[in-house]
């Protein structure tokens, strides 16, 4: 009889639980999570590109051989892309020398759209224009934002899908560790 009473108590307690919660979504994607870059296994050469920045200067990836290059694919209409821009700017300011480079490749938009965006999100690193999406299609990208870290030898060392806090000490340490000494 004791067992039956115990079971009834458990059942009543379980039935009292709400089947659904309506207290708001579980979390935002970047809320209090470890800031991780994921190592890319093997030796994957970073695809070459040649793109113009907002000032009309041309940038080739191979121009940066010997440096660590952070390449971010983004668009102005992409909420997580906008979210990580300030952190990328802060990281840019923390890079101690020119051996770490940051290039943000905009996908499919024109100069005017990006120019207007920079009024709200001022950044100092180069914003490159991939207007016909030829470059993003040549890279292993499936969603925005996606960011790659290229080592000084020109291979893809790390990637991150979704936004990150780029000035997080763990990430900065990872980037600095890749530099040639």
């Amino acid at each position: 009889m004791k067992h039956i009473r115990a079971l009834i108590v458990i059942l009543v307690a379980c039935m009292g639980l709400p089947p659904f919660t309506a207290a708001g979504p579980a979390e935002n994607p970047t809320d209090s999570q470890p800031q991780l870059l994921h190592p890319v296994p093997g030796v994957v050469p970073a695809p070459e590109f040649r793109l113009q920045d907002m000032d009309g200067n041309w940038h080739r990836l191979s121009d940066y051989r010997g440096k660590v290059v952070v390449i971010n694919f983004w668009a102005t209409w992409c909420p997580p892309c906008r979210e990580e821009m300030p952190a990328m700017q802060r990281a840019w300011l923390k890079f101690e020398n020119k051996n770490i480079v940051m290039l943000a490749i905009n996908v499919g938009e024109d100069e005017d759209t990006i120019f207007n965006f920079t009024a709200s999100y001022p950044v100092e690193f180069p914003l490159l224009l991939d207007t016909d999406s030829a470059v993003i299609n040549a890279w292993p990208v499936r969603g925005l934002p996606t960011t790659f870290v290229i080592d000084p030898q020109g291979t893809i060392a790390y990637q991150a899908i979704g936004s990150r806090e780029w000035d997080d000490p763990h990430i900065l340490k990872t980037l600095k560790a890749l530099r040639m000494h």
Partner: protein, 200 residues
């Protein structure tokens, strides 16, 4: 078996049922976004966070008009039951997760169908004359058809279900982790109605 034994066994069965159902339901959340009044459905368990949030057709119209589509194109896109979606690998120690939207199933009283993926939109005859820049924005604003997420990786993106505004459906979504396939169901998901709220 005496009477108390029979009662005990019956209660055990009921308890098992309640616990199994309870654990599944506890992973599901449904509610209303405080800021917008739009509804969301969410699954969080098994190292996965998957959320659908309603987008009013007018929100989608405005977004794609700003990307360069014409009025007829945005009307077509906006009335295909578009949700804002988020998929995240929350299993910090559980390795990579892969999704393939082509395997997800949309179930209504009329039967089952598939999502409208990037590839479907690219081939949509209604959009063949749309500007290239607009089509690039459409493609990249959708949740990827195929994606692999390392721990803490995530995508935001729209998903569309090809149903009229106001429709209700169940979504069986699936993913694989280390060669094991998992699937779960979000029930009673509601495509937002095509209403036109005015600013207060």
């Amino acid at each position: 078996m005496n009477e108390s034994g029979l009662i005990y066994r019956s209660l055990c069965l009921v308890a098992s049922f309640v616990l199994v159902c309870g654990s599944a339901l506890a992973s599901t959340a449904e509610g209303v976004m405080e800021e917008t009044g739009l509804r969301y459905w969410e699954w969080q368990d098994d190292g996965i966070l998957f959320r659908l949030t309603q987008r009013l057709p007018d929100q989608t119209r405005a977004f794609f008009l700003a990307r360069g589509f014409d009025r007829a194109d945005v009307d077509f896109i906006a009335t295909q039951c578009v949700f804002q979606s988020m998929f995240k690998n929350t299993g910090a120690l559980d390795g990579e997760v892969a999704i393939n939207l082509e395997k997800w199933e949309v179930r209504t009283g009329q039967g089952q169908s598939a999502l409208m993926t990037r590839e479907n939109w690219r081939d949509a005859s209604q959009l063949q004359d749309a500007p290239a820049a607009a089509m690039i924005a459409l493609e990249w604003s959708l949740l990827p058809t195929h994606q692999t997420y390392a721990p803490n990786d995530y995508n935001w993106g729209m998903t569309s279900y090809g149903l009229p505004p106001g429709s209700t459906f169940d979504l069986e979504f699936s993913w694989s982790r280390e060669d094991r396939r998992f699937s779960r169901v979000l029930s009673g998901v509601e495509c937002p109605a095509d209403i036109h709220p005015q600013p207060e």
